[in-house]
């Protein structure tokens, strides 16, 4: 347990200190959201209607951008081999790394959401709904994305392939995340059903992600 806690602490510290890795994601999120009014036109009513979808797309792309860092740096300096050889099960180590990655890169995105919602003319209720669905959904993005990161790290220059492999897997999360936040804004639709499915997707990814990532690392590193 202490080994996993140490791993989490180390990963968060690296993400926050070196190269501002965590904040790059937020900066990218901001850039995506700022681009939207240029593409769609500055119609505030339209932006408010599309707001949840824009925020979800931005968060999805931002979390995809930072996924590459999940294993690559550790693979380059050799610490991934040490983690794989250590006595803690590789699956648990993967889960710990993903948790640290989500705390360092996913949580800042959710914290940034209210400010970005302001830019998109979302009211407080809609912003809260989007932030809540992101809180429930981004762990699923990280934990399924980890599978792609683990597959990509075992091959040379797998960065571009990572996006191709991960995006189809993240579509269900996107669908139910946007559905739940839209339902919270437009009254008659039920918020509970899509939100429960979103939470279920996260829970499934907590099991499937570490297992698949551990398997592909174990087979890929030898």
């Amino acid at each position: 347990m202490t080994a996993l806690a140490a791993l989490i602490r180390r990963d968060i510290r690296i993400a926050l200190r070196i190269g501002g890795g965590a904040l790059i994601g937020v900066l990218f999120f901001l850039a995506v959201v700022v681009l939207m009014p240029f593409a769609l036109g500055p119609d505030l009513a339209l932006l408010a209607r599309l707001g949840p979808a824009i925020l979800w797309l931005g968060a999805l792309l931002a979390s995809l951008l930072t996924l590459d860092r999940l294993f690559t740096a550790d693979h380059d300096d050799g610490s991934l081999d040490l983690i794989a050889m250590s006595r803690t099960p590789l699956e648990l180590a993967c889960a710990a790394k993903a948790l640290a990655h989500w705390l360092a890169a996913g949580l800042p995105l959710i914290v940034a959401t209210p400010a970005l919602g302001l830019l998109l003319n979302l009211d407080a209720r809609a912003t809260g709904a989007v932030a809540l669905t992101l809180l429930a959904g981004t762990p699923a993005l990280t934990f399924t994305g980890m599978i792609g990161a683990a597959l990509a790290v075992t091959m040379h220059r797998g960065g571009l392939l990572l996006a191709v492999l991960v995006l189809p897997l993240s579509i269900p999360v996107l669908i139910f995340g946007v559905a739940a936040s839209q339902a919270a804004i437009t009254e008659p639709l039920a918020f509970g059903a899509p939100f429960s499915i979103l939470c279920a997707l996260s829970l499934v990814s907590f099991v499937v992600g570490p297992l698949a990532a551990g398997a592909s690392l174990r087979h890929g590193l030898d």
Binding site: I147, L151, M155, G158, L161, P168, A212, A215, S216, H219
Partner: protein, 254 residues
């Protein structure tokens, strides 16, 4: 002849060399019979002659899911039992499955235009099949990205098993989400909803397409085995042409 004997690629090659002409012949006969029956099938009272697209569309759609299921079993064979032919089968099946999925999408789109008035609708079944197509392409890209076949096999096996979660979602998407695509009508509780005039040609076509898949898979697996042999010979040749390679090989052998 047991499953263990098939693990020997040479035995597999001799066996499939004997089987392939029969498989190909049976496929051709059944395809001809199925196509004839499909052409002779009566027009639907609502859809007219366009209903005949079904005889091509539905088998393709079934096989797009079936091929991924076969690949999932092969992935288990790679990861759990280390069966030497499992990854050959998985690699050979991926492009075939991608083509079936693509044909299902295209024929569905051509059928949708006269029936629903649109080539494409973001409906649950079509969207999930499109995602399946993207996953086939990603899987093929993964196979191509890793040079060493056995490492590529294990990476692809993990991705195949993760993607297998999608198959039941596609299968039941028409029942869970009530959208444009019609619900399941052939395999369902309480018997088929299709009239036998349509059901018989459809089933013949389904068997014919399944046989087509097996034939293509066998041929592709033979190619893959031969390709790996060529690669092995090339590696051997390259290692022999290196100066000092003989000592290296001796030290590796001991």
């Amino acid at each position: 002849m047991t499953l263990i004997d098939l693990a020997n690629p040479s035995k597999f090659l001799t066996l499939t060399a004997r089987m392939l002409p029969w498989l190909a012949g049976a496929t051709a006969i059944l395809l001809a019979l199925g196509l004839y029956q499909s052409a002779m099938a009566p027009d639907d009272y609502q859809q007219g002659a366009t209903v005949k697209i079904m005889f091509i569309h539905v088998p393709n759609a079934w096989l797009s899911m079936f091929v991924w299921s076969v690949m999932s079993v092969a992935a288990l064979g790679t990861l759990v039992w280390r069966h030497p032919l499992a990854d050959v089968a998985a690699k050979a099946a991926a492009p075939i499955g991608a083509v079936f999925t693509f044909l299902a999408l295209v024929t569905g789109s051509l059928w949708g235009r006269p029936m629903w008035g649109t080539y494409w609708e973001w409906d649950a079944r079509m969207t999930s099949v499109l995602i399946l197509f993207l996953m086939y392409l990603g899987l093929i890209a993964l196979w191509r990205a890793v040079e060493d076949p056995s490492r590529a096999a294990r990476a692809a096996a993990v991705l195949t098993l993760v993607g297998a979660i999608n198959i039941p979602i596609i299968k039941f998407s028409v029942d869970w989400w009530n959208t444009l695509h019609q619900p399941a009508s052939v395999l369902r509780l309480g018997g088929s909803a299709l009239d036998s005039a349509f059901l018989v040609p459809l089933l013949v076509m389904a068997v014919a397409f399944s046989l087509l898949f097996v034939t293509l898979l066998m041929a592709a697996m033979r190619n893959e085995i031969l390709r790996r042999r060529v690669r092995g010979l090339q590696m051997l040749q390259a290692s022999q042409s290196l100066p000092g390679a003989a000592e290296l090989r001796e030290s590796a052998a001991t």
